[in-house]
């Protein structure tokens, strides 16, 4: 009896020490499981987390722009400037944040910063996310102010592009003021449809008389097969000194009440 009890106790004590030797198969299995989890995390990051992070960073940058450009105690303007041509800003340097895009249809508080250039350094960057085609015109300029952004990555600024309805306002804010465009139409083109950013869209070589804004992004979601293009036509201009347009005064620049 005593001997038995003693051997059981000894066995119990020894048990934790007698580990199984880790086999190659086990290590391999653990590595594969880890890889599976990391790939799952990557997909989650790609379609969701990265957007959340980038969207937040970009919205903050845009709000910061508005605050930097704001004139203290500016009151919202109920009417645009009359009979005045919009101020055309200087051509920005590559990667320079020079404007905000404010589209109420994309979200009540939607404001995103806009950088010069449409390379991956701008578009695949959580700080920028939206770029201006350098060969296209500037906001308010006769011709085409053409932009590119992601539909569903790096902040996905143009995620809701298909929801635009005729008559929706599209605002571009710069240090000079606010350019109001009115959404006109959408079209779907091939990747090579470079003419959509011509001064007169789809009419390369024709001299422009209108002021157009063009938004380009990918279509369908999570694919690069086609491009969806949204056009807007210039409507009016709100100089910085007159204060932000009433409709977006909560988003663009502080308003002291």
């Amino acid at each position: 009896m005593t001997a038995d009890r003693g051997s059981v106790a000894a066995h119990r004590r020894a048990a934790p020490r007698a580990r199984r030797r880790t086999s190659v198969t086990q290590v391999l299995a653990e590595l594969l499981l880890t890889a599976g989890v990391i790939i799952g995390l990557f997909v989650g990051w790609q379609v969701w987390l990265n957007n959340e992070i980038a969207g937040g960073v970009q919205e903050q940058a845009a709000t910061q722009n508005s605050e930097d450009w704001a004139i203290p105690d500016a009151k919202p303007a109920s009417k645009p400037a009359k009979n005045v041509d919009p101020v055309i800003g200087d051509k920005p340097k590559p990667d320079e944040l020079f404007a905000n895009l404010i589209v109420p249809r994309f979200g009540k508080d939607f404001t995103r910063p806009l950088a010069e250039g449409v390379g991956r350094d701008v578009l695949d960057n959580i700080n920028f996310g939206m770029g201006h085609y350098p060969q296209s015109q500037m906001p308010g300029e006769v011709g085409n102010f053409a932009l590119a952004s992601h539909r569903s990555a790096y902040g996905g600024a143009f995620h809701e592009i298909h929801r635009l309805r005729v008559g929706d306002p599209i605002f571009v804010e710069t240090k000079d003021g606010w350019y109001k465009y009115i959404y006109r139409n959408t079209e779907y083109v091939h990747v090579s449809g470079i003419d959509v950013i011509a001064p007169v869209p789809q009419e390369a070589g024709v001299e422009a008389t209108q002021r157009i804004i063009t938004l380009t992004t990918c279509n369908p979601f999570y694919s690069s097969a086609e491009r969806i293009i949204a056009y807007g036509v210039f409507d009016s201009w709100y100089p910085r000194a007159d204060g932000p347009p009433y409709a977006i005064s909560k988003v663009a620049g502080e308003v002291s009440e």
């Binding site: 880790t22 995390l41 991956r120 992601h150 569903s152 990555a153 083109v189």
Partner: protein, 52 residues
Amino acid sequence: MYGALWRILPGPVWVRILLLLALATVVLVALVVWVFPYVDHLIAPQDVTVTE
């Protein structure tokens, strides 16, 4: 592999769990900040521009 990690960690069980959580956080942050953006650039670029 993970068994070895568990044995290497010092202290009682709750200390080991805290250490593991801290390690997991470090790994996650490293993945999100460096690894995932880098990998994303290597695979399937989601182009959004029109080009010639």
